[in-house]
């Protein structure tokens, strides 16, 4: 019998890595290897599967005031097509006349098909434990799991898609806030880190691909599955920026910039992270 106390395991691995660092002086790469091993060990029993299962049920179940399932929701490849849909998001939707990422499109479908108010559909984007489970994160887990192994192919054919990319790029390099930070302060060079975590260099193709294709992810330290909207929201918090509004144009533009940069790589999420 084998059970994993994941939080404790995380600390143990972290502690072990520190010891290894001191003893062998292999330095940062060795720590990164140990973290990679830790991730590989957890991948087998990734609790993200629990979110995927809940999301799949939710997708097919008649819900909302209209008592309709989301199976008619058009994620960009036609009504009800989920397979591979995430690899082509964010994209321009003619019916909304707007570039949308997965989360905003799900909100759109919940409003247009299921009859929720927009406020209701958006009110709990990020879950917190058993008392406040987020439907959004479960739906995101299900939809993204249906794109696993498929190559990222985010379109840039519509002018609004190109505009979103350009604005996202600007935002990525825009310095502001109390700490005069930009996304690029941490994600614009190789070898940067926060504590023991290596940060991806999102200005390189390989860096953007590796980072973007492994979100959403189950965060062991939080016991929650986190969407890409959450990832950006938390980056903004860490930069001491004003709160990134869920589903805002700013969040979609930045997502577009990163997603397009990841084009060509096979999508590999929901993943598991520390």
């Amino acid at each position: 019998m084998k059970t994993s106390r994941s939080g404790r395991a995380a600390r143990l691995v972290a502690a072990a890595s520190v010891v290894a660092l001191a003893a062998t002086a292999f330095g940062q790469s060795n720590t990164a290897d140990e973290i990679a091993k830790y991730r590989a060990a957890l991948q087998d029993g990734n609790p993200a599967e629990l979110w995927e299962a809940r999301g799949e049920g939710m997708w097919k179940e008649p819900r909302g005031p209209a008592k309709v399932s989301l199976e008619k929701c058009d994620l960009g490849m036609g009504p009800g097509v989920v397979k591979g849909a995430y690899t082509q998001l964010p994209r321009y939707f003619a019916d909304a006349d707007r570039v949308m990422d997965l989360e905003t499109r799900l909100v759109w479908c919940m409003v247009k098909i299921q009859g929720y108010t927009e406020a209701d559909a958006k009110k709990n984007p990020f879950g917190a434990g058993n008392d406040r489970k987020a439907d959004m994160e479960a739906l995101v887990a299900y939809v993204t799991s249906e794109s696993r192994g498929i190559k990222m192919n985010v379109p840039q054919s519509h002018p609004k898609e190109r505009e979103a990319y350009a604005l996202g790029e600007k935002m990525f390099f825009f310095r502001g806030g109390t700490h005069d930070f930009a996304c690029s302060t941490c994600h614009g060079e190789d070898g940067k880190r926060i504590r023991l975590q290596d940060l991806p260099n999102l200005t390189t193709k390989a860096g953007a691909q590796k980072a973007y294709t492994t979100w959403p992810a189950y965060r062991v330290s939080q016991g929650e599955l986190r969407s890409f909207q959450w990832r950006l929201n938390d980056c903004f918090r860490q930069q001491r920026f004003p709160e990134l509004v869920f589903g805002s144009d700013a969040s979609i533009d930045l997502t577009t910039f990163l997603a397009v940069n990841a084009n060509g790589a096979a999508f590999d999420a929901p993943a598991i992270k520390r």
């Binding site: 019998m1 084998k2 059970t3 994993s4 106390r5 994941s6 939080g7 404790r8 395991a9 087998d44 029993g45 990734n46 609790p47 599967e49 629990l50 299962a53 809940r54 434990g129 058993n130 016991g223």
Partner: protein
């Protein structure tokens, strides 16, 4: 009703390898909420695995097991198409049984 578990069961040589992912908060009883009140302990206490009605694993768990626990074990025997059932009971008396077919 608690959320379902995910079970995978595969024949490996002369035994069956079972991997179970359970959906549970596993509160230790050691944490406090924002108001400083202790969050009561809430964890899986008993886990039982049966194969064709015969118990192949029985475990007593405590609060030291992780949230959303992952359990992997092997037992001798088992053939493709056989049923494996996993039941857990927590300290509130809540119970969940899930079934999987050996592949």
């Amino acid at each position: 009703m608690p959320d379902p578990s995910r079970i995978r069961a595969n024949v490996v040589g002369d035994s069956t390898e079972v991997k179970v992912l359970m959906n549970h908060e596993m509160e230790t009883g050691q944490r406090k909420d924002a108001q400083g009140k202790v969050i009561p302990a809430w964890f899986i206490q008993d886990v039982t695995a049966t194969w064709n009605g015969k118990t192949v694993l029985s475990a007593q768990w405590g609060p030291a097991v992780a949230k959303n626990p992952f359990l992997s074990f092997k037992f001798k025997g088992g053939a493709k198409g056989d049923k494996v059932m996993i039941t857990w009971v927590d300290n509130r008396g809540e119970k969940r049984t899930d079934e999987a077919t050996i592949a």
